[in-house]
Amino acid sequence: MRNRPTILLATAGLVGAAALAACTPGSNADTSGTTPTGQVSTDASKLGDVTLTVWDQEVRGGQAAQIEELNKEFQAKYPNIKLKRVTRSFDDLKTTLKLALSGNTPPDVFEANNGRPDMGSFVQAGQLLALDKYATAYGWDKRYPESVRKYSSYTPDGKTFGSGNLYGLPQVGEVVGIYANTDILKKAGVNEVPTTWSDFESSLGAIKSAGEQPLVLGNLDKWPAIHVFGTVQAQNAKPDAIRTLGFGQKGGTWKTPENAKAAQTLVDWVDKGYFAKDVNGLGYDPAWQAFSKGKGAYLIAGTWLQADLGKAMGDKVTFTLPPAASGTPVATGGTGLPWAVSSKSKHPDAAAAYIDFITSKDAMGVLAKNDNLPIADTADQTAGDALGKDVFAAFGTAVKDDSLVPYLDYATPTMADTLGASLQDLLAKKATPDKFLDTVEKDYSGFVSSNG
């Protein structure tokens, strides 16, 4: 006991010394040189013997199948480039990539999440190579429409999302649309899947009167309602206004009559019983699984459910873009994780060649064959089943018409939490549409003003 103060003192001293000796967090980051200078070489076979370290999260089902097939073809075509592949789950990749990139031997090629906390902060730290030169050399700028390239574009300071340099290229696309159970629609006297927003809304009433659940939503996980709100918002607000909010760019506001109407629509749907009573208590997976077993008429969800729903429901299910109030349909959507190149990579030409190979037209065929939604040349691909054809056609239309709007939670690093929690409040009627918009606006404007 006598020695306790001495020990405490020694400990405190040591901790203090350690803290003082350590420098400011992040001071070892090298923020120089992110744009390659000089000529780029697009002939991978002439690059000599090179080893590329690749980090990806293509570990499940069709994702794993496509990348294994493409890697094998790449190795066969360019035996001089050796691939060292490291696989991680999505969550593991997200948590380890940040450390790896700030170290001295980062992977050459990796998949980086589009959002600000990931790709945005990597760009800010000068850890990513701007790919614009390669985009011109390989013609990516022609094959990938601007609305898709936006999702992996940042200004060099990493502050503006959705414009500036290109820092990555995705393989697959995503779009949120409406899955419809045609059996239930017919039972309710709705013989055609609605093609206008007003038809869609009136069909909800008809389905309810027929004693079926019009809309399936499981919002326990917080984020699913973001996709439903985004879909409704896209029918009310202008696409450019949504892009400004979604990419967290300056000059937008949530406090508009259009956004208020979108929020009010969700509340109306709750009041009219179009959602089940306990949407906030039901998980996302149980919800779509119930839909696949014939419970509920519509499921507003992304193309990622296509393979599972197609298998379970066969020709009883269709997928359409949300019908527009007028003009072309606008849909929430985005890309799979973009493939990016480290600014410290010693073989940027080989890295770009690899990315070009796995996103080439042939690669898109391999992706489609393995139940993925290819992001480019989508219309040229043939899908396996009827639902797959719907999905490919829907995504092709959305990209062609430039009518993709970003996920709203891209806006700020905290938006996923803010929007998720406040949508739960809105659906449970703990917050009015007005209060809901106030909360979201506070997050958006607070970020925009501090982002400069």
């Binding site: 901790v15 350690a18 992040g26 940040k98 208590g281 690093p413």
Partner: protein, 295 residues
């Protein structure tokens, strides 16, 4: 440097040398990270680019941000469910098991202890299904005619936190019961005999003999369960992600969310430091009370 007046044996100071290897390991893996966390908590840092000095603003946030304050409040509510309830129930269970001298005691002990063996994530996944709108809990309530109570438990603003807490109660009862049973097994039979001769009934016996004798075990049980309550992460992460709204968010979940999802490492570190201090203070308090009573 042994002095004639000192105690016999090797000089005291050499003891520090013996402690050194263990201390180095301790310092490298515990004290250094702790010091680093404290340091980071004074910065605004996204985990990647150069941090900017933030002074005490991250700590000010912990106090002033209503959502963050609420998350500490939720942790206190969870303490009730993780520590107080299991201790009370565990005391009753252990006293009954100990007194009844049931046959197959080992079997019951194992059954009660079983939840502790299962990984928390597995427990959380299982309970999440049971709490679903069409899950087992609602089915049971419906079967006994309590349809009015059925709800989507984890999506209900008033029920979600108690529902999460109850999982903790269910989980910790086993540990507490087994701990207390071991303590009660050590109480000499003569004490009970003497109490009975003095005319004590089962309840009197419990309060006069059993309870004071297991004070040490109670303090151990409380310390363990209180710490478990305060650092709850996996349960919330799997079941509700802090929802509905923010009604079940807890400090540990905020630490993870801010550090790994939102890229606000400084703020996360500040919450973690505050949480560490609270855990330290509470467990220190509990052991102090138990020690003082032992004398």
């Amino acid at each position: 440097m042994a002095t004639p007046s000192g105690p016999p044996g090797e000089p005291r100071r050499i003891a520090w040398l013996y402690l050194l290897p263990a201390f180095l390991v301790y310092a490298a893996f515990l004290l250094y990270p702790l010091g680093r966390a404290v340091q980071i908590s004074f910065y605004d840092w996204n985990g990647n680019t150069l941090a900017t000095w933030a002074g005490l603003s991250n700590y000010a946030d912990v106090v002033t941000d209503p959502a963050l304050r609420a998350s500490f409040g939720h942790a206190l509510v969870l303490m009730l469910f993780y520590a107080v309830l299991p201790t009370v129930i565990g005391l009753g269970l252990a006293a009954i098991l100990n007194r009844a001298k049931v046959r197959g005691l080992a079997f019951f002990r194992t059954v009660v202890f079983l939840p502790q063996v299962v990984a928390m994530v597995v427990i959380a996944v299982a309970w999440r299904r049971m709490y679903a709108p069409d899950g087992t809990v609602n089915d049971l309530l419906g079967a006994i005619g309590l349809d009015s109570l059925t709800r989507g438990w984890l999506g209900d603003y008033t029920a979600a936190l108690p529902a999460v807490g109850f999982i903790g109660t269910w989980f910790e009862i086993g540990l507490v019961t087994v701990l207390l049973l071991a303590g009660m097994g050590r109480i000499p039979g003569e004490l009970y005999e003497a109490a009975r001769l003095d005319g004590a009934g089962p309840f009197r016996e419990f309060f006069a003999v059993t309870l004071p004798s297991v004070r040490g075990e109670i303090s151990v049980a409380l310390t363990l369960t209180v710490i478990a309550a305060l650092r709850t992460f996996d349960l919330v992460y799997v079941t509700t992600r802090g929802g509905p709204g923010t009604s079940t968010s807890v400090p540990s979940f905020e630490v993870y969310n801010r550090a790994f999802q939102q890229g606000r490492v400084g703020s996360a570190a500040a919450i973690a430091v505050v949480l560490t201090l609270i855990i330290f203070a509470i467990s220190f308090g509990i052991t102090r009370i138990a020690e003082r009573d032992d004398r």
